[in-house]
């Protein structure tokens, strides 16, 4: 009885010591995965995923609290990159690519209040006080922040029209 107790205690203590030392040696500062995930995310801190900024979203992803399809501005490209990094499978068939949108200024009702370009996370809106603002299309991520602050509803997200350059073949329809 005593032999059993002592031997198990000693064994447990020894293994605990070894693991304790190992925990010191192989200590992980924060979660290195989070940093890698932040690098993939768009970084516009738009908050459309429901997390506070891209760092929060990366944290949630690393802990498995969020699906890889969480980022609407990132779309399928980001979802695929995240899935590759996390080694998870992503069912893109279920992820309808949102219609690509872009903010557009209706020039007749823009009063040049400058509120929209103050909130734009990517500096995609140019203009000055009392001047009509306009959107730099290559920089707009369609986060919708400008839409919220516009007092005249002049700036709105509009679907980007398909052009000859952006047109592509659809996936062949399959017979069941």
């Amino acid at each position: 009885m005593i032999a059993a107790l002592t031997s198990l205690t000693i064994l447990g203590a020894f293994l605990g010591l070894v693991l304790g030392i190992a925990a010191r040696v192989f200590k992980v500062e924060g979660n290195p995965l989070t940093a890698e995930l932040i690098a993939i995310l768009p970084g516009s801190q738009c908050g459309q995923c429901g997390f506070p900024g891209c760092a929060g979203a990366a944290q949630a992803l690393a802990e498995g609290r969020a699906p890889v399809t969480l980022c609407p501005p990132g779309g399928r490209a980001v979802a695929l990159a995240l899935a590759a990094k996390l080694g998870t499978e992503v069912n893109l068939a279920g992820m309808k690519d949102a219609v690509p949108m872009m903010a557009e200024v209706q020039e007749e009702i823009c009063i040049g209040c400058t509120r929209c370009f103050k909130v734009c996370p990517t500096d995609a809106i140019v203009g000055a006080a009392q001047q009509i603002h306009s959107v730099f299309r290559e920089a707009c991520t369609a986060c919708g922040k400008c839409e919220e602050v516009c007092p005249t509803e002049s700036i709105k997200l509009q679907p980007i029209l398909v052009t000859l350059q952006s047109w592509r073949w659809h996936k062949p329809v399959e017979a069941a």
Binding site: G43, R76, A77, L164, K171
Partner: protein
């Protein structure tokens, strides 16, 4: 000359006899032309004319924009009646910005600068004139020719492509038979411009008259005219290089990487016209054919002529056309609207009957591997399509999707009628879109980071300024307090 082996390839029924015997005849100038500003790979041209302006035949309508672009000239004399959109010669049927020109029926040329001895020109002058004439690859890829000349200077071998392996098409066949001398001069000019050491002309052996005509024209020159076995896709750049030189372009590379430049024979004719006679590229030879066409023929057509005019000139339909195609039946563009204009890259206008297109419902793949044998690039079409079907694009890329030339050989031979090449076109489009999104994301991410940095900097500066003000105020108050105490004392 000994030829090298090719892998894969198919032997579709040629059906060239429909139009092969018809000499080139000029289509009368149509009343109204729709001239798209994008008839080439790259950026659309920038118009330099205004609505209502009178233009002469050959006058510049739009200039090239950027390095990868091409100029566009007036196909005939007349008045500009519109700068707007017209239906693009493209399967999407989307609009393309274009110039509308109403012809005055007089075809008055602008003053042309002819060159008596073109071989005195320097290579730079030749490529400048080729660029100014708006010449693009007439085989169908429509890559700006001048850029190709500049990128290929000093290549060892110049290959002139007279393959014309697509069924039905006979435009290159006819132009080689009827205009061999001009083509030969154009070939020599191109060879002169890139200082090529060896010039080969490859023609499929189903065009014996064209081979004879070109061989006669090549007498007393260093140009070698070679008959190649008839096979699809012999007219593809990679395949013609392989069969004539035995060299293979590395994956993702260009012909210049292995010291080869390939041009179409019709492009050589356009180059000759531009350099010797000063005429810009405003017309091309188009084959009008297909089972639904009454009199299949080869027409010299002004760029911008609506497709319907060609069909009407060929006598219209003898039976309903099930499908209209611009280009060849294998790689051409399916068109739904016959009002679309002929552009620089249009080699054929085909009206095919239901029997000719032979459409059938796709059946399951039985892994017969016919497509693997047919693939001229040595890929596994069935595996690639399976990966694409299950949304595994990276798997398809690993199998060599990016090396696919979309020749359609696999779809042609598939006994189960699986639209293999459609899968590959879809996947390539999807990959391009993903890459574009990724690039955009990288740039917007940088913008977002710069912005947050800037805001932090401004905050910091503001805080520092506030601290400074506070310190100053406190110092002042202290001084005032000190003064008070001294006064009190």
């Amino acid at each position: 000359m000994n030829l090298f082996d090719l892998r894969g390839g198919i032997h579709p029924e040629g059906r060239k006899n429909l139009s092969a015997a018809h000499p080139i005849c000029a289509l009368p100038v149509p009343k109204r032309l729709f001239i798209p500003l994008q008839q080439h790979i790259g950026a659309p041209a920038q118009p330099v004319v205004a609505v209502g302006q009178n233009v002469l035949k050959g006058q510049l309508l739009a200039t090239a924009q950027g390095a990868l672009s091409s100029a566009i000239h007036a196909p005939t004399s007349g008045v500009i009646t519109g700068l707007g959109d017209c239906t693009a010669p493209h399967p999407s049927g989307l609009a393309v910005p274009s110039i509308t020109l109403d012809s005055d029926g007089e075809s008055r040329w602008i003053a042309l600068i002819a060159t008596a001895d073109p071989f005195q020109l320097t290579p730079e002058e030749i490529s400048q004139r080729v660029a100014a004439a708006g010449i693009v690859g007439l085989g169908g890829a429509t890559f700006p020719s001048a850029l190709k000349l500049n990128l290929s200077h000093g290549v060892q071998t110049l290959i002139m492509n007279g393959g014309e392996c697509e069924p039905y098409l006979t435009c290159d066949d006819r132009i080689m038979q009827e205009r061999a001398a001009q083509i030969m001069q154009g070939i020599q000019l191109i060879a002169h411009a890139v200082a090529a050491q060896e010039v080969l002309v490859g023609i499929e052996d189903n065009k014996p008259e064209a081979i004879a005509a070109m061989q006669a024209a090549a007498k007393n020159t260093s140009v070698k005219v070679t008959a190649m076995p008839s096979m699809y896709p012999m007219g593809s750049e990679k395949q013609i290089i392989q069969v004539l030189t035995g060299k293979e372009i590395p994956a993702g590379g260009r012909p210049a990487d292995i010291g080869v430049l390939v041009h179409n024979v019709a492009t050589a004719f356009a180059v000759q016209q531009a350099i010797v006679e000063g005429k810009p590229l405003i017309s091309r030879i188009v084959t009008v054919s297909g089972g639904a066409i009454k009199v299949p023929c080869n027409l010299e057509v002004l760029v911008g002529t609506p497709m319907q005019e060609l069909i009407d000139f060929a006598g219209g339909y003898v039976q309903p056309a099930a499908r209209l195609v611009l280009g060849g039946p294998m790689m051409g563009q399916q068109i739904s609207n016959p009002a679309v204009p002929v552009v620089k890259g249009t080699s054929g206008v085909l009206a095919l009957t239901t029997a000719e297109i032979g459409q059938a419902e796709p059946a399951p793949c039985i892994r017969c591997s016919s497509c693997v044998r047919a693939c001229p690039v040595g890929l596994l079409p069935l595996e690639m399509a399976a990966h694409i079907r299950t949304a595994n694009l990276s798997g398809a890329v690993n199998l060599g999707l990016k090396d696919c030339i979309a020749c359609g050989s696999c779809s042609y031979v598939c006994p189960a009628h699986i639209p293999l090449v459609h899968f590959f076109n879809y996947a390539k489009g999807d990959l391009t879109a993903q890459e574009r999104t990724k690039l955009k994301q990288e740039s917007t991410k940088k913008l977002a980071e710069e912005r947050s940095e800037r805001i932090a900097r401004i905050e910091r500066a503001r805080a520092e300024a506030a601290a400074k003000r506070k310190a100053a105020r406190e110092a002042k108050e202290r001084a005032a307090a000190a003064k008070l105490t001294t006064e009190a004392v």
